[in-house]
Each structure stands twice: as C-alpha cells, then as structure tokens.
Subunit: 284 residues, 2 copies
C-alpha cells in the first residue's frame, strides 16, 4: 500500500514543484458574481480547487472560513472536502490544540468525519495534543513551529538557553516522531528562521505558508522543502485565489498557479544544481 | 449597561462560589439511556446544564465534543448554546489560535454566530490571535497560560531568563490588556504554578480547570479566583456530569453540584477570614 508520504512525494515529482493551494475564502474578498455569504464561500473554494488542481500537490483548506457560519459552514466544508480530487493531499488547517479525550474528539472530527489527509496542530499543550491524532494510521500532522504573522515571535521567539521556543518545538517534534508523519509549519516571512530550522532539522517535512500576499520568499521556501527526507509543501493563497476580482477570476487563478508552479520548478532545478556541487547524490 | 465582568461578579456573589460547569460529553461516557452518538451528546449537555444551572456561575462547553460529528454536531452545539440560561456566563472552550483575517473568522463563529460570552484562546501566535476577538465589545477571553495536562510543561515550562514560558504569557496578557476582559487559563493540577501566577498577577480573572477527575485542589483553586480584581471561575466536569452513570445521573449531578458549591463556599469564607488577618479590607 502506498503511504501518505509516498503519495506526497510522487505528487511533488509529477507536478515538479511543491505548490500547495491555500483556500481561505473570506466573504468580503470574493470575486465578482459570488455573494458574500456561505454560498459564495463554498462556490469560491470549489471553483478554485477544481480550476488549479492540475498545478498543485495539495490543498490547504482553512477551517475558520467555514466555521464562521457555524453548522451551515461546516456542511459546506464537508461538501468541499468530499470533492477535493483524490490525487491531491487534503490538508485541513485547523491549528487545534487540546488534551486527552478532547484532542481525540478533534482528531475524530478532522481525520474521522472529514477524512483529511493532514492537519495543522498547535504545540502549546505538548504531546497530549498531538498523540491522539497519530492514532489515525498514515495521516500527516504539521505542528506550528514559527508562524508567518507579525506577532509570531511574542511566544515563539522567547529565548530558552540560547535557543528560541520555536527551535525547541522543532527539536521536540523531530526527536519524538522521527518517522516523517509529523512535520512543521514554518512561515516564509521569516527567511532566517526558515533556513536555520531547515539546517538544524533536515528530517521533517515543512508546510510553508506566507508566500505571495504576505511577502515570503518563494525560492527560499522551495529550497527548504526540497531535499528533506520528508517532502514539504509551500502554500500560496491570495496570489492565486485573488489574482483577479473580476469575472475572469478562475482563468486568472489558473494562469497565476501555472506561473507560481513554473517559478517553483525553476527554484527546484536551481536548488538541485547547487546541491550537486556539494553532494552528487543529494537533492533528489 | 451591565458589563460582562459585572454580570460575572454578581453571579459569583449570588451563587456564593465560583463554580463553572464543564460540559465535555464524550459519546463513550454517556449515562444510561442515552445513545453513544450526537443525539446522546446533545441530550446529555442539555440535561446537565438545565439540572445544575442554579448551582453554577458559568458553563464551559468544549467545542470538540460537538465538532467530532461535523456539521451535525455544530448544529447540536447551536441548539445547546441557545438554551443556556441567560443568567449564566457561557464560555466556549475552543482553544483557537490563528492570525489576522482567519482569527476574525474564528471570532465571528464563536462570538458572532454562537454568541458566546467568553472563549478560550491559545497564545502561541501572539496578539494577532487575540485582538480580533477583542473587536467584539464586552466579551471575555481566557488565554491558555498553564494547562492541566501531563505534558503541559513541554512548551509552557521552558525556561526563559529565570522565568517560564507560561509566566511570560501571563505577564504579556496582563500588561497588554489590563482592563480585565482577558483572563488566563491555569490548571488546578499544578498548584504551585497556580499560586505563583496568582501572586505575581493579581489582576486577571482565572479560568481554572482540572478540579475533580483530574485531581486538582478545590481550595487552592477557589483561593486564586477569589479576591482578584477580575473574578475567576473553577471548572468542574466529570465529578458532576459523571457522578452516576445510571438512570439517576441527573439527580446525582445536582447533588454533586450542590456538594461542590458548598465546599467552594466554605473555601471562599475561609479565604476571606484568612485574608482579614492580613488586610482588613482585602479579600472582599
């Protein structure tokens, strides 16, 4: 049986770039023709995923944009998730973090009920918040290490004996779950932290948000995803989804996804040729 | 207009104890007569809240136990929330933590759509995760500082220049939002941390889980809630909800809630008389 990591690796190879589509449909930022409500949010998510599927490895759907509408939004999320093409990895960006039987119930909602391939989780409560998710065989988990937002360093950047909190989180995750099923979320907007974490922890797959509208560096992000033992993905949301706010938004999204994919492929090729100078068998 | 803090303070005075009912209905732990599915979960939550309402200040409903069933579970949560008696503070224990427009959407779901009086939030992403919730006037927020679970210290207990991460979180929250709307979650299972945090930060209201089945100390918890500028609450779940697993579970829950309330009232009285020796006007 093909494992989730093998699926992800094969898909990255096929697409030639670690591009993940970020799906964050805000009702106030929907394109022309869609109503600023849960129907518009669902229509945008569905249209976008269908249109750009061929150019991406994974979709990262942010649960908040559906949960804002309560049960009706969750019903929309269920429909959107069911129709995600089966050759894509479906990441539910939920950032949940609770303990014991409560974490079990969150895992049941995301891995059981919604059948996600991967989720994002918060590390603040320790392994009690992560382990119930590992009880579901062969799903992937991305633990928040260094996020892409302005106040990320408030807690993550506190100094711990010469390290920073986010480095301690990365070390803990890497050492405790070395089989590649647990990766790290590291924002592209902190390029120094991104490359330091990659250098220190070559094993885990990274989920890298913050490229595009948030200003993160595409090349640096792709380099940190490529060549790791567990493949990583770089998530791009608005630069694709909001490439146009007019009637042509789907065409614009496809064009933009091709452009980002091509740029990432170039970065992969460049990264491989640089790596070749150091280690002929590396960077594959 | 009465503020939420004034409502909470008045309710604590009326009940005579800072007792909060924790509602964590796990389908595998429902009492006799209820089916282990979303209908059983809803029936248990409704029955429990209605039965013990007179003996508690607040209800803390854990979102995970409904979310596990997806949209159907969220619909049950909506019905449960609508029927929470209006004189109780309704805390949705969601532990959300995301950024910018995503955090806005979580706030819309919890404070807008579900009309919660209070929520729990994770501090790992800094103020970007908290501020969108403060945009809803007069709601309360409890930020996770020191949680009650075994692996709590993994991240929260990392040493930062002689402090611990959870102390830094408490200081940041206290200094940044001194108006009492933002309190702290501090587990009763870490009594040393609980009293240290209370001593260092007399201002913010505490939400103290972990009493009862998790083994936390009732008296110590009540002392940390009483006398603070912003009133706190001590959450008790299983010791009330699972006092009996038989047909008499509701009667047992009422009896148990009265016993816990009485014990807390005694602790409040004792705490006031101890305080009186030190400062005649303190401890009110």
């Amino acid at each position: 049986m093909t494992t989730q990591l093998e699926r992800l690796r094969a898909r990255v190879e096929l697409v030639g770039a670690p591009l993940c589509l970020g799906v964050d449909p805000h009702p106030d930022r929907l394109p022309a023709g869609l109503t600023p409500d849960v129907r518009g949010v669902e229509a945008m998510a569905r249209g976008l995923i269908e249109a750009v599927a061929a150019n991406v490895v994974a979709v990262k759907i942010n649960v908040a944009f559906f949960e804002a509408f309560g049960s009706v939004g969750w019903a929309a999320l269920e429909r959107v998730r069911v129709d995600v093409p089966r050759d894509l990895i479906c990441i539910l960006d939920a950032k949940r973090g609770d303990i014991g039987s409560t974490a079990e119930r969150y895992a049941e909602g995301l891995f059981g009920h919604l059948d996600a391939d991967a989720v994002t989780l918060s590390p603040y409560l320790g392994e009690d918040a992560i382990e119930p998710f590992l009880a579901y065989p062969d799903r992937l988990i991305y633990v928040l290490a260094r996020t892409s937002n302005p106040s990320a360093a408030r807690v993550q950047g506190l100094g711990v004996d010469g390290d920073l909190v986010h480095v301690r989180v990365a070390r803990w995750v890497t050492e405790r779950w070395p089989d590649g099923r647990v990766g790290l979320v590291v924002g592209a907007t902190a390029p120094a932290e991104l490359s330091q974490l990659r250098e220190a922890f070559p094993g885990p797959g990274f989920l890298v948000p913050g490229v595009g509208a948030q200003g993160g560096d595409v090349d640096a992000s792709v380099r940190t995803c490529h060549g790791a033992w567990a493949p990583g993905v770089v998530s791009v949301s608005r630069a694709i989804a909001e490439a146009s706010s007019g009637d042509d938004w789907l065409d614009a999204a496809v064009t933009s996804s091709i452009a980002v994919r091509t740029r990432m492929t170039d970065a992969v090729v460049h990264s491989m040729s640089s790596a070749a100078h150091v280690a002929p068998n590396g960077g594959s």
